[in-house]
Symmetry: C2
Subunit: 332 residues, 2 copies
DNA sequence: TTGAAAGCGCTAACAC
DNA sequence: GTGTTAGCGCTTTCAA
């Protein structure tokens, strides 16, 4: 690999001059010298050595998106947005998948202390003390989920608006007996989603019956139970909203097992969109949230934090949008 | 962060002595000194600076798993195995998600030239010239898919055995009119899978009718077409094998749209296993492949390559295993 | 068994 | 506008 020294030798100048030109932020270099250096760098395929640079500047120039499981439907869009912004800012974006064997915060802190990256963004909180440990270690972070403990360090979606949109859509197309399948019992986010959903319906004088409020443990097989209760109830709902796309997929499958047809017998609306939503049969009506933009903003904010600015927490737009497909049908 | 210098000062020895002890591979240090140093390192929470070390050794100590899309069902298991082995070897494993905007090989090569990682493993080939470009750039790599162009640098699964097992299972439980839904038309791997599957059946004097051989484009909605052909054919198959778990999921959904029940009307067997297989209704019978071990071996081999040994290409065991669930039923 | 010293490639004062 | 210089934290050869 070519180094500054090579370019300097090639151009008959000092490496400090080359360094200035390569960094591009210094005008105290003559046009001629600059052009000569740039040309040499190009032809020698020069790439600055991130290790040497980082050793000097105490910055690796890399940021990490930490996650426990790659397969969530929403990740590709977040990652793509994040990657796009990272390219624009000259940062290197890696994903880091902490394993069940590790204490997530600890392994991230260790890695950052080794100088492997400068900051981290994440969606899930792998364990209770996660945020506090990052904070105690002064590891710059951005949360993609709003949690009370996060303070100002979040870039999140407007889930209140999302669930209100979901509720209003069902009401708009005539549904009155409505169910809701949330996720992750007892989390703050779970509560927030539920109350936004129910609140929007209440404004329209629609109440969600307690026996139609569910919370599904993703890891288990609770969908079967939910589907049974939905399918066999005396007053079956005409529509059910779910708090994720995957939940909708599983619910439809489980309902099928109960001989409940979607959308003929019951309409299902998901939350978040992904290719699966369109592939699925019936294609899933859902609420589209701006994940790509969230990814972009998260990296941008991490960049700001690394540079000493710390603007307040942020809710990214644009507003949620209903994607109408096959799984919801108006109530005649 | 504590440095070697801090520890040296703390113990009243030279930093070179500390360096030897920290690396752990040098016996030319007295027991007493060693213990003292180790204790100091512990209490100061010393972490070697990967940038400084890498600058000197010309090794970053990081390897990358490159992929285009995180959501594939098989990745978590590969990643977990890879991560596990990386921990054992003292390597740092990052995922790198190349974007559609970039030339994948080029961006990986650039990053490696910056010294950000030493080698790369990957499952998919993002573009035709990928391998050749990596090779031309002398970037160490391991492919998780066997391709002719890869040479010896692969660690792959025994898909021939997998598809034979799949075929034999269906035959064992009495099916004779059998269909097959492959993926990715015209790829080498697609051809290999198909011929292994058909070959195993032919040995039992079962022929797969040409109109029951499908290749589904994942991105499109071909599943509906396939399901229609399967469902409406005069001689409907009693069982259909698919080349992925996701294919099985989509196929079941699409068949449902044709009022074809699984497994009552037709048995479906997937390929590869993942949590989705158990969650799905009907739960999916499938062929379990040793992905975790593949991930482990890939990192191990990358490590070997980085250290100058280049053993031959490798097919990892143990042999495939049929996971019997609900989607297949014996033919009476 | 331990220390001295050079240098990996780069940045950033500072001097000219 | 350009060069000189010191040093980031570490490894490794050589000498003691």
């Amino acid at each position: 690999m070519a180094t500054l020294k090579d370019i300097a030798a090639h151009c008959g100048v000092d490496i400090s001059t080359v360094s200035r030109v390569i960094q591009g932020r210094d005008i105290r270099v003559s046009k001629v010298t600059r052009a000569k250096i740039l040309e040499a760098a190009e032809s020698l395929h020069y790439r600055p050595n991130a290790l040497a640079r980082g050793l000097k500047t105490r910055r690796s120039g890399a940021v990490v998106f930490a996650l426990s499981n790659t397969t969530r439907y929403v990740y590709p869009e977040i990652i793509d947005g994040a990657q796009e912004k990272a390219e624009e800012l000259g940062l290197c974006l890696f994903l880091y998948c902490y394993s069940p064997r590790q204490a997530a915060a600890e392994s991230l802190i260790d890695l950052s202390h080794e100088g492997r990256f400068d900051g981290v963004m994440f969606h899930d909180l792998p364990h209770e003390s996660f945020i506090e440990e990052l904070r105690a270690a002064s590891l710059p972070f951005v949360s993609l989920n709003r949690y009370e403990s996060v303070g100002e360090r979040y870039v999140c979606l407007d889930d209140e608006a999302g669930f209100r949109a979901q509720a209003n859509y069902l009401a708009d197309i005539g549904h009155r007996r409505i169910g809701f399948v949330g996720v992750k019992p007892d989390s703050e986010i779970s509560r927030r989603c539920r109350s936004a959903f129910c609140g929007a319906l209440e404004e329209r004088r629609i109440t969600v019956a307690p026996n139609l409020m569910f919370e599904c443990d993703f890891e288990g097989l609770d969908f079967v139970r939910v589907a049974t209760e939905i399918g066999s109830g005396v007053r079956r709902p005409t529509a059910v909203a779910t708090a994720s796309l995957a939940t909708a997929v599983h619910l439809v499958a489980a309902l099928k097992g109960q001989n409940v047809r979607v959308p003929e017998d019951v309409s299902i609306i998901g939350y978040h969109d992904a290719p699966m939503g369109a592939w699925h049969r019936p294609a899933l009506t859902t609420v589209r949230m701006p994940f790509r933009i969230q990814g972009r903003r998260a990296v941008e904010r991490l960049y700001d934090i690394l540079n000493g600015t710390e603007p307040g927490g942020e809710v990214v737009g644009p507003p949620p949008e209903i994607v109408e497909r096959e799984s919801c049908t108006p109530l005649a």
